[in-house]
């Protein structure tokens, strides 16, 4: 009997008993009963009696007959369940059809079926989407607007219970993107990856090196390595940052690359000088497109382009001369414009006003701060990532009191708004006094005057040496001092932190003692978000000369290169691979480091001084993302001892694999030039960290004998960009809240972990609800395994008192924490 069944879309299919039985079985199971073979054949018999005479029947006919058969055999409950199920299917179908019919240009049929298949549970029903869509879709005109509304609707369904609407919204957005791109490819006569690369090089988007290094045959091979389905990892939010920040577009806002093509072109750039190019192209592409190891924004944005600037996190010192100040300002303008973030150390600047009492306005260093702030305002990077400038001042600087208040909420009498962030550089001695003798006096002094009277720069020292000199200055009556009780300074710090989240805090002694490259300089300050900690020094200007170049006169500005740090950054995204598998973890890290290290040789830089510094230290800033997700996945609470033990093991491994990979690279390609004499070389790095196991001893020897590729390696930034892109929780921090919005350019973007489930929900703690002691303990645990800093926020509510806030700072100091970024405040809401 070759009976045909007509499906809803008109196609015909062979009639099969088994399909009917399985549908009926489902209804039985839903009623907690079991369909016996006997019952099943009885039902089938009845159905066959009814339909056997017909040659073609529709699905609806069969379903009618199933209902009748169930009823006549007295399976009333089952019949009811069957009817209800059938109804709900019909409803969903209707909604799907409704959505499909809404659009002319876009055929959503396949997409909506796939979404239904991949997200079969109730919370992701298209019914919800259609309902939401209807409330928005009021007199929508064209398909594009309707599409926007559909995406917005999906996005609004994102909740803790249904976090994956973010992925569905991404799917819809990508569907549109791909369709439009296809049309565009045709317009541009782009037929494959090779012709696309060629087009982009010809039009000055891509660097010509791509075709110099890869021939057509190789590119065709590479094209076959692209795995389109990896687009499914892109949520709406991650695709949005790619579109806004990374994917190349022309001046009319038209795009060229698919996300996968972009990842591949980046991989091609980073691997182009490898001996086994294609092997590394594939490896780099894989870690990146699976978001196992995500490179920082400048790499994703600029790699593959001409003059690719691949590093970020610049740190500068403003020296105490007009030439240096304005050289810094000019660097700031360039750096801020191109990378959006910077740290500047101001502790060397004299305070003219204190010595010259006549000037009332723009007291002391505030006048320079105002210029810095104006530069930042003028360049105004709106909506970009990591936008901001952090200015550092030593806590004994005579202008400290004004400095602390620059961001004060209602600074109405000053009528000027600072958008730069103040950060204080604090020596151990200050925290000791604050802890043991809060009523003691603190002397604020002018660094220039100290130099005049003492012939040394106090800020050039740290630790005991600094402390001795500071006390020497305090006791030297020739030096003008502003004496303030420590308590007053603490009050100002705490009050301002409470109101504005700033000043950030940089514990200079700890950072310098732990600096693995102290043989080559010292760390005056950190970067924008306080995780990069590297040697910095002011530049010495020699002179300006006239030289002949091709017979023409040119001006050459000469200066001695200084330490002007910048780093190449990337993040290990723990949730996107099996982090518990050591060899996988090692593999991800070693590929990631190799790619980042290549960037150091490939990057161009608008600032040659920093490029030289980068090549001397070969600095990386490797971070992690997804720690909170991992904890939830392991059913471990953030505020538990268990977490500290778990984390200690994990971060120890990350450290080990990182050093091992950098050592292996050194064997292959050579050490960083400043390796000799570093803590890695003399072994102090290992001794300070109690890395004494046999495995560690072996690595230590290997590093001693064969060197290390990178002078700075691990720094845990807040990684907002890589976190959003990889859908992993930010860095090592707990979530602000299980669900929150981020406001970006007039849009509210919902944020909720994509890994949250009913089962692990409990293990996602709101940062404000957990004891901050655990955040400090976690940072302490992590600090053992990194060589730079952690961009660490503390979270308080308005029930905290001044003493409690101060205690957090003191505890952090005692725990050896090098920096505190924002003090975030949640207002307790009154119930």
């Amino acid at each position: 009997m070759n009976k045909k069944i007509i499906k809803r879309d008109g196609r015909e299919e062979e009639f099969k008993d088994s399909k009917i039985v399985s549908a009926i079985e489902k209804s039985f199971i839903s009623q907690n009963s079991i369909l016996s073979d006997e019952e099943s054949s009885k039902i089938l018999n009845l159905i066959h009696e009814a339909i056997d005479l017909k040659e073609k029947i529709t699905v609806e006919d069969i379903q009618d007959e199933v209902e009748k058969a169930l009823m006549s055999l007295n399976f009333y409950d089952i019949a009811k369940a069957y009817i209800l199920y059938r109804n709900s299917r019909t409803q969903i179908r209707e909604y799907r059809d409704f959505l499909v019919k809404e659009f002319n240009k876009y055929d959503l049929r396949l997409l909506s079926k796939n979404i239904e298949k991949e997200y079969p549970t109730k919370e992701y029903s298209l019914l919800n989407l259609a309902n939401k869509y209807k409330s928005f879709s009021l007199n929508s005109i064209d398909d594009e607007e309707k599409m926007n509304i559909l995406i917005k609707s999906a996005l609004e369904l994102v909740s803790v219970e249904a976090p994956k609407w973010d992925l569905i919204a991404g799917r819809i957005e990508l569907f549109r993107y791909h369709l439009n791109l296809k049309t565009r490819n045709k317009e541009l006569n782009v037929t494959n990856f090779y012709s696309k690369i060629k087009y982009l090089i010809d039009n000055d988007y891509y660097g010509s090196y791509l075709l110099e290094k890869y021939n057509e045959e190789e590119i065709n091979k590479i094209e076959r390595m692209i795995i389109k389905s990896r687009d499914k990892l892109l949520s709406y939010s991650s695709f949005k940052v790619l579109k806004e920040e990374c994917l190349i577009k022309d001046k009319n806002g038209n795009y060229f690359e698919t996300p996968q093509e972009m990842f591949m072109a980046i991989a091609m750039h980073l691997a182009m000088n490898e001996k086994d190019k294609l092997f590394y192209v594939k490896r780099f592409y894989d870690v990146l497109s699976k978001f196992e190891f995500v490179f920082a924004l400048p790499i994703l944005k600029n790699a593959r382009r001409k003059n690719a600037q691949l590093s970020n996190c610049f740190i500068d010192i403003m020296d105490d001369s007009i030439v240096s100040i304005f050289e810094s300002i000019s660097n700031l303008a360039k750096t801020y414009d191109l990378t959006g973030g910077m740290g500047i150390y101001l502790g060397k600047l004299r305070s003219t006003s204190y010595l010259n009492k006549n000037s009332e306005e723009n007291v002391g260093i505030l006048k320079w701060l105002k210029i810095i702030n104006d530069v930042v305002l003028a360049i105004n990077k709106k909506g970009g990532f990591n936008g901001g400038v952090t200015c550092y001042l030593d806590i004994w600087h005579i202008d400290m009191l004004d400095f602390l208040e620059i961001r004060k909420y209602l600074n109405l009498n000053k009528h000027y708004k600072y958008i730069i962030y103040p950060a204080i550089c604090v020596p151990d001695y200050f925290w000791k006094l604050a802890r043991d003798n809060i009523n003691a006096m603190w002397s604020l002094m002018d660094p220039h005057e100290i130099y005049l009277k003492k012939n040394y720069h106090l800020e050039d020292f740290y630790g005991v040496e600094w402390e001795n000199r500071y006390l020497d200055c305090v006791h030297d009556d020739r030096i003008i001092k502003k004496d303030v009780p420590i308590k007053e300074i603490i009050r100002l710090i705490v009050k301002n932190a409470f109101e504005t989240g700033t000043p950030f805090c940089f514990n200079r002694d700890i950072a310098n003692k732990e600096n693995p490259n102290k043989h080559k300089g010292m760390i005056y300050s950190s970067n924008l978000s306080l995780e990069i900690m590297q040697n910095v020094s002011p530049k010495n200007f020699i002179n300006e000369e006239v030289m002949k170049f091709n017979g023409e006169e040119v001006l050459i500005k000469k200066s001695e290169p200084s330490n002007y740090p910048t780093s190449v950054l990337g993040s290990i995204c723990l949730m996107n691979f099996d982090y518990s598998n050591d060899s996988k973890l090692e593999d991800v890290i070693s590929i990631g480091i190799r790619a980042l290290d290549n960037c150091i040789d490939l990057t161009s830089c608008f600032n040659l001084n920093s490029l030289l510094t980068l090549k001397k230290y070969r600095s990386l800033g490797i971070s992690v993302n997804g720690y909170q997700d991992v904890l939830a996945n392991e059913n471990i609470k953030f505020d538990s001892e268990e977490q500290l033990i778990f984390g200690n093991k994990l971060f120890e491994k990350i450290n080990y694999f990182t050093l091992k990979a950098s050592n292996a690279l050194a064997i292959e390609k050579g050490s960083y030039p400043y390796f000799k004499g570093s803590d890695f070389d003399n072994g102090n790095y290992f001794i300070n960290r109690d890395y004494l196991s046999e495995k560690r001893a072996k690595l230590k020897d290997s590093i001693k004998n064969k060197g290390l590729r990178n002078g700075y390696l691990l720094a845990f930034s807040s990684s907002r960009f890589t976190s959003i892109l990889s859908s992993n929780s930010e860095s090592i921090l707990p979530l602000l809240s299980k669900f929150y919005f981020e406001e970006e350019a007039n849009k509210m973007i919902p944020r909720v972990s994509k890994f949250i489930t009913n089962e692990n929900n409990l293990y996602y703690s709101d940062a404000f609800d957990i004891s901050q002691d655990y955040i400090i303990k976690t940072a302490q645990m992590i600090y053992k395994h990194i060589d730079q800093g952690v961009s660490l926020n503390l979270y308080i509510n308005n029930n905290y008192s001044m003493r409690q806030i101060l205690d957090l700072y003191i505890k952090a100091y005692e725990a050896g924490i090098k920096s505190i970024h924002f003090l975030r405040l949640k207002e307790a809401t009154y119930e």
Partner: protein
């Protein structure tokens, strides 16, 4: 009967008053009227007061540049009409509040509670100032006036204003314990219902990426109103404890009817001002939302739900609470967060 429902204005200094905590009462207390804040009877007051103080904000903190453009360019005609009328309505409501709260306060004999109402009154002023700021930024002077005094030309609006006003005047004309509970509930409705639909309208614009500055200001107003709502809820509940005898079935049904009537009017108002013309909202959604609000307002002061069903926030409106929570909104890492509080409330125990 008249004697049983007598309500006394609080006097000035009362030297022969009672100094025990028990003498304090929401109304008709017999204390000295000295501001004794060291001996507080209503324990919730201290938390409430601290919270309200630390919420201090001024509208100028919010940047309205985008709103200026949106108001002219992005709003549809229907949206602009609703925007104007909703703003006009909020201006009216806050004006009424600043005038009427002192009337209520004249009878509040517990000083600590009286303090809270004073503070609320001040916050309502800030709200009025922020509407002025909004108008100042986005409109020309003539548009401004036509919005503020819209009721002079809009008879539906005028009728509604007069109705709300009437509820308050009943009490002024004849203050007693019954009319007192009625004015408390009228105030509670104003805070908890009338304001909320206005807020909801602005959040809806925000969720359509329009007039985000306004939505930000409204979020701050909303936060204050949440506090005010809980203040009046507490006053009503304390009053109820102290005057059980007033709460007869008859009085309770009067109160329930007040809420019901308010909801019905509010729904009609929603039809009038929002209708089916605004992207993201429709009449069914408004109806469901108001009925739900009416029910939670009624049950949280111990009355029966007013409308059958409607006990949970309607799914189609779940975005409202997401958009109204200040704490849920993280501006860019390096943006200016509106979360920071004023350090004046920070306890100095150094």
């Amino acid at each position: 009967m008249e004697e049983n429902i007598k309500l006394n204005k609080k006097g000035l200094f009362n030297p022969s008053g009672d100094i025990s905590i028990n003498a304090k009462a929401i109304v008709n207390g017999t204390s000295t009227n000295i501001n004794d804040l060291n001996n507080i009877k209503y324990k919730w007051v201290s938390n409430w007061y601290r919270q309200a103080i630390s919420n201090f904000w001024i509208p100028e903190e919010v940047n309205m540049n985008q709103d200026i453009k949106d108001y002219r360019k992005s709003l549809t005609i229907a949206e602009r009409r609703s925007y104007n009328k909703t703003l006009s309505f909020l201006i009216y409501l806050d004006s009424l509040q600043t005038l009427n709260l002192p009337n209520i306060n004249e009878y509040i004999s517990a000083q600590e509670v009286s303090f809270c109402i004073n503070l609320q009154c001040f916050q309502e002023d800030i709200h009025s100032q922020s509407y002025a700021y909004i108008l100042d930024t986005i409109c020309s002077p003539d548009e401004r006036n036509s919005i503020i005094y819209d009721f002079k030309n809009d008879s539906i609006m005028l009728k509604r204003y007069e109705f709300i006003n009437g509820k308050y005047e009943e009490f002024i004309d004849n203050p007693n314990l019954i009319s007192f509970i009625k004015v408390l509930v009228a105030n509670y409705i104003l805070e908890g219902l009338y304001f909320y639909t206005g807020f909801m309208f602005f959040y809806n614009l925000g969720r359509n990426s329009k007039m985000n500055g306004t939505a930000q200001i409204i979020r701050k107003v909303n936060k204050d109103e949440n506090n005010h709502l809980s203040l009046f809820k507490n006053i009503i509940l304390e009053f109820k404890k102290e005057h059980k005898e007033i709460f007869t079935l008859e009085v309770e049904s009067i109160l329930e009817n007040m809420i019901k009537e308010a909801c019905i009017q509010e729904i009609e108002w929603g039809f009038y001002i929002i209708g089916n013309e605004i992207r993201g909202l429709n009449i069914d959604m408004i109806k469901d939302y108001i009925k739900y609000l009416g029910n939670i307002r009624a049950t949280s002061i111990g009355l029966k739900p007013i409308f059958e069903g409607h006990l949970k926030e309607p799914l189609s409106m779940s975005w409202v609470s997401n958009f109204s929570k200040d704490d849920y909104i993280k501006l860019d890492n390096y943006g200016n967060s509106s979360l920071y509080s004023k350090s004046s409330t920070l306890k100095d125990d150094l």
